[in-house]
């Protein structure tokens, strides 16, 4: 192997890739543009959903409960504090009215509610709504809060009427203190999403280049002349290998750039549905460097496998099919660990390919940094880089594979 030839091949491959508009578009420009657009659409959708849930909550009374006193207690007492709950007419068939979307809720109140209220007995309120409707489910929480406030108010009145201190109902006052590291809770969403994204992007980032650099070359007839030039096969392979690795990192950077712009434009998207909001990332420098090295090693492992698959494939299309399996293979550990907490990762997991990078990334983002585990991840990753390269080189040197058609 001669590094002079590796450099010549690498330079040429990079020039070739940079001039491939299709690859540049799909791997660099689209992620940068698509992510912000996608997040804007999603952010807009979420905003609209939140607005629809909390505003104009339409409630009708059923014909059974069509009574002025019922309307009065609903309007003046239960929903009095919520301007966004709109009491809207009477419906004959509550289920049909909800299903047709005429109203979001139909309410039925026990006919003898006033009597029961006076007697200090509970009365029943039945809310009829579509349980499979996201908006209705969200709005129901607001209705329940209104009912809860009314309940508290009645309890207070009853206790005061009997000269009892309301504190009697509170033998214990519960207080909560958040013991979680502030930095950690700030990274909750990132901990869930980033390792998954990184694994998938790294597994897929080098695919266009790897497919083109061996299977593509062979199909276009440029491969055989290349093999008759002075460099040995290992130099040619390494030149291509570094080009694929570099390209997969450029893909990763553009994906992150797109995501960064997207989150900056729509900060609410990361906080939606999570207890913790997206905060700043606090990673100690040594851990950051280690994570970059582990990530680089993961990229190199995939580059080796991708080049091996591209070498093995008989055609460009066959190579693309093999590569898609590779993405699925990366998705399995990525999704399997999505809900795992940084504390859940055991030491042996830091030695399993791909899982080691995900575990490292998660623990670093979760600020549960264990340098021994990180070094195990790095050392095992380097081992996998070597194995993937040996695998790739062995196929690249196999006549049967190289010249099969």
């Amino acid at each position: 192997m001669n590094f002079k030839y590796v450099w010549i091949v690498l330079k040429k491959e990079l020039k070739d890739i940079i001039r491939d508009k299709k690859t540049i578009l799909s791997n660099i420009l689209i992620p940068i543009i698509l992510m912000p657009v996608l997040f804007s659409v999603m952010g807009g959708g979420i905003k609209k959903l939140e607005k629809d849930m909390s505003e104009n909550i339409t409630v009708a009374v059923s014909e059974k409960s069509n009574d002025e006193n019922v309307k009065k207690i609903l309007q003046d007492e239960i929903f009095a504090q919520n301007q966004n709950i709109v009491l809207q007419g009477v419906v004959k068939d509550p289920v049909e009215a909800v299903r047709n979307g005429e109203v979001r809720f139909v309410v039925e109140v026990e006919p003898d509610f006033e009597q029961k209220l006076k007697q200090g007995k509970p009365f029943e309120i039945n809310f009829i709504y579509n349980h499979s409707d996201t908006k209705a489910n969200g709005s129901f929480q607001i209705l329940m809060q209104a009912v809860e406030q009314y309940k508290q108010k009645v309890i207070m009145q009853r206790l005061q009427a009997q000269g009892i201190d309301p504190e009697i109902l509170q033998p214990v006052v519960v207080k909560q203190t958040n013991a979680a590291d502030e930095k950690k809770s700030g990274n909750m969403m990132l901990m869930m999403i980033l390792p998954l994204l990184v694994a998938i992007i790294i597994a897929s980032g080098g695919i266009p280049a790897a497919t083109d650099l061996v299977a593509g070359e062979r199909e276009r007839g440029t491969f055989e002349p290349l093999l008759t030039t002075r460099p040995d096969r290992m130099s040619i392979l390494l030149g291509k290998y570094f080009a694929v690795t570099l390209f997969s990192f450029v893909g990763l950077i553009s994906q992150f750039t797109g995501m960064f712009i997207a989150v900056k434009m729509n900060p609410q998207i990361m906080g939606f549905g999570a207890s913790g909001e997206m905060g700043g990332i606090y990673i100690p420098l040594p851990a950051l460097l280690l994570s970059i090295l582990i990530l680089a090693a993961l990229g190199m492992v995939f580059a080796g496998i991708q080049l091996a698959l591209s070498t093995y494939a008989k055609s460009f299309k066959e190579a693309q099919t093999y590569m898609s399996f590779l993405i699925f293979a990366a998705m399995v550990p990525a999704y399997a660990t999505m809900m795992m907490q940084p504390e859940d990762f055991q030491t042996f997991m830091f030695a399993i390919p791909l899982l080691n990078a995900i575990a490292s990334f998660k623990t670093i983002l979760g600020n549960v940094i264990n340098y021994t585990n990180l070094f195990i991840a790095l050392a095992s990753s380097v081992g996998y880089v070597i194995i993937s390269l040996i695998f790739s080189a062995s196929l690249f040197n196999k006549e049967k594979v190289l010249f099969r058609s």
């Binding site: 040429k12 002349p225 008759t228």
Partner: protein, 243 residues
């Protein structure tokens, strides 16, 4: 000079090339004649060090194809038939320069050589155009230039005219003659009798991987008492042909 010494190649059970022994003298064109699947491409791939012989070896310009593979590659040029094998996204100059760099030529020499080749092949107008923009004929010339950019002493042509039109075939023939005039040693594989007769000093007929006969065209005609090379060939390979 090229010397084949019991060169053999098997792919599993199949013996693609059997015990080939012959020599090609410096400045000579040897036509490698055989049907499809006779072992011509496998032989040339072994001589170009792309495939390793199962047994035997060959010497190319004094270098052994097994022991000195890198040196062998530095003194050979190759031209394949069918696809010209240019990188579409590189310019003609970049395509040629890439192969020059890979063959260890110094930068100043590469520039001079590319300019020279552009001149002799009439490529000046499109030397800085990307290969994807070129016609088939232009690509053909660029492939010629690339094959000889490092001034190899041995040229291997593997059915270089397959799939080409009459004009392009003539260009290939002219190129082979130019190589001969420059004193290069040439092996030219083909299954076309007429072009072999037109270009080659000697021919080697191979059938099912084995050498059937070798000699100058006139020699073979006298030996078999027949002026028709096609009939001689058919007689040698058993009368079955794919022409």
């Amino acid at each position: 000079m090229i010397k084949l010494k019991s060169l053999s190649k098997s792919f599993g059970e199949i013996e693609a090339v059997k015990n080939l022994c012959f020599e090609v003298n410096k400045g000579e064109i040897l036509g490698l004649l055989g049907e499809n699947g006779a072992g011509k491409t496998t032989t040339l791939r072994m001589l170009a060090t792309m495939l390793k012989p199962t047994s035997g070896t060959a010497e190319m310009g004094g270098y052994d194809i097994v022991k000195d593979a890198e040196k062998v590659r530095s003194i050979i040029g190759i031209l394949f038939g069918g696809e010209t094998g240019l990188y579409d996204r590189l310019t003609v100059a970049e395509n040629i320069a890439y192969f020059a760099e890979l063959n260890d030529m110094p930068k100043y020499e590469i520039k001079r050589r590319v300019e020279h080749l552009a001149e002799i092949f009439g490529m000046k107008e499109y030397i800085n155009l990307r290969a994807s923009k070129l016609s088939k004929g232009m690509k053909q010339k660029a492939a010629f230039a690339r094959a000889i950019v490092h001034d190899p002493e041995i040229m291997l042509f593997d059915e270089p005219t397959s799939g080409l039109d009459v004009g392009a075939i003539r260009d290939v023939h002219d190129f082979i003659r130019t190589c001969k005039d420059e004193g290069k040693t040439i092996i030219f594989s083909s299954h076309s009798m007429s072009e072999v007769e037109k270009l080659c000093d000697r021919i080697a007929v191979i059938h099912k991987g084995a050498l059937v006969d070798i000699g100058a065209i006139e020699e073979l005609k006298n030996k078999y008492g027949n002026e028709n090379l096609e009939e001689i060939f058919l007689g040698l390979v058993g009368g079955k042909n794919e022409f």
